[in-house]
């Protein structure tokens, strides 16, 4: 094994929230792209690609 290389093994975080208004029903999806980028800056990632559907938004990140 190489002494050092790119770490492939991921860390995975799943957070659940309550308090969403079911009449509106979009909850966290209201977070702006700018806010998400700000959060991801803490992680040291940026968005390289994104797509969403009726149910959720997905982002491919750098790294």
């Amino acid at each position: 094994m190489a002494a050092s290389g790119f770490e492939g093994i991921e860390k995975r975080l799943e957070l659940h929230f309550s308090g969403d208004d079911p009449m509106i029903g979009i909850g966290l999806r209201q977070l702006s792209f700018q806010t998400l980028e700000e959060i991801l800056r803490e992680v040291q990632c940026t968005v390289v690609s994104s797509v969403g559907n009726h149910f959720f938004d997905s982002y491919v990140l750098s790294e």
Binding site: I9, E10, R12, F17, S18, L36, I39, S58, V60
Partner: protein, 279 residues
């Protein structure tokens, strides 16, 4: 790395030396501005290949757990941290979960759907297959268009033909994709370099989808990468899925080396299985 945002759920999965847990504090802050409050948290990972390269708070599992306990709201007081070992000393599954009382009560309702999450880690990828995740020098493509070529060439597109795929190829090598199939997500990340090659696959599913579905997906994933070693972590309220995992993976030439089971509040049962190629 990938991020999935649902109305009341966020999943972030990052590799390299990213400081994933530093996202918790701002996520709590910005969600509270929307009137949302955190009710449960699950953090999981395998054993790092290069643990000494990880920055704080990822310097050890103990550091990660202490960090989470400090940043999570005090109402998430039902927590558990566990190391799930295997017969392979380099493969230990790390899980931390925390929840508040409302979620704990919800868990005991009999109507909880039987959904599952697979988190699959593969190392020692077949070198011929791994080479498909390298871009040609000056290929003139964008990360998106090169990703699309890799998705087709490796037959990743066949794993779930119904999924809408968002893919990206890194320069000079590496690949990420997110799949969207209705409410269900899937994701693949690949680091193809010889000596520390790695690929991951993650998806959610339902036990109602029919007996063949789970086996079919697993077999296709193994055939895309042909790993020397693979671990499958299954999170589900039922242990039934684990038997289907072992059966499917053994049919494509891998032997089950170990199986560890643990229970977590709200999260349910986590089954951690390791496999090595039959030589």
């Amino acid at each position: 790395s990938s991020l999935f945002v649902y109305p009341t759920k966020i999943i972030i999965k990052t590799c390299g030396t990213t400081q994933l847990l530093k996202s918790v504090r701002p996520l709590i802050h910005y969600s509270s501005n929307l009137g949302l409050s955190l009710s449960s948290c699950k953090y999981s990972r395998g054993s790092f290949i290069f643990p000494k390269s990880q920055p704080y708070p990822h310097t050890s599992f103990q550091d990660e757990v202490v960090y989470l306990q400090n940043v999570l709201p005090k109402n998430l007081c039902y927590d558990k941290a566990s190391l799930m070992p295997s017969k392979l000393s380099t493969h230990t599954w790390h899980v931390f979960s925390a929840t508040d009382e409302s979620h704990l009560m919800f868990m005991h309702q009999p109507s909880t759907p039987t959904t599952f999450t697979f988190e699959i880690c593969m190392t020692e990828l077949d070198s011929v297959l791994a080479r498909k995740f390298f871009r040609g020098p000056n290929d003139g493509k964008t990360g998106g268009s090169a990703g699309k070529v890799m998705t087709e060439m490796t037959r990743i597109c066949d794993i779930n033909p119904k999924a809408h795929i968002c893919d990206f190829a890194f320069d000079p090598c590496g690949y990420s994709m997110n799949g969207l199939d209705g409410e269900k997500y899937s994701t693949i990340h690949v680091t193809p370099e010889e000596g520390f090659s790695y690929a991951s696959f993650e998806c959610v599913g339902s036990l109602c989808e029919g007996g063949g579905y789970i086996g079919d997906v697993l077999k296709k994933v193994v055939q895309v990468f042909r790993p020397g070693t693979m671990s499958v972590s299954t999170t589900c309220s039922s242990r039934e899925v684990a038997a289907r995992v072992a059966k499917a993976v053994e049919q494509v030439g891998m032997n089950c080396r170990s199986c560890t089971v643990d229970e977590f509040p709200v999260v349910g049962t986590v089954v951690f299985q390791t496999f090595t190629t039959r030589r």
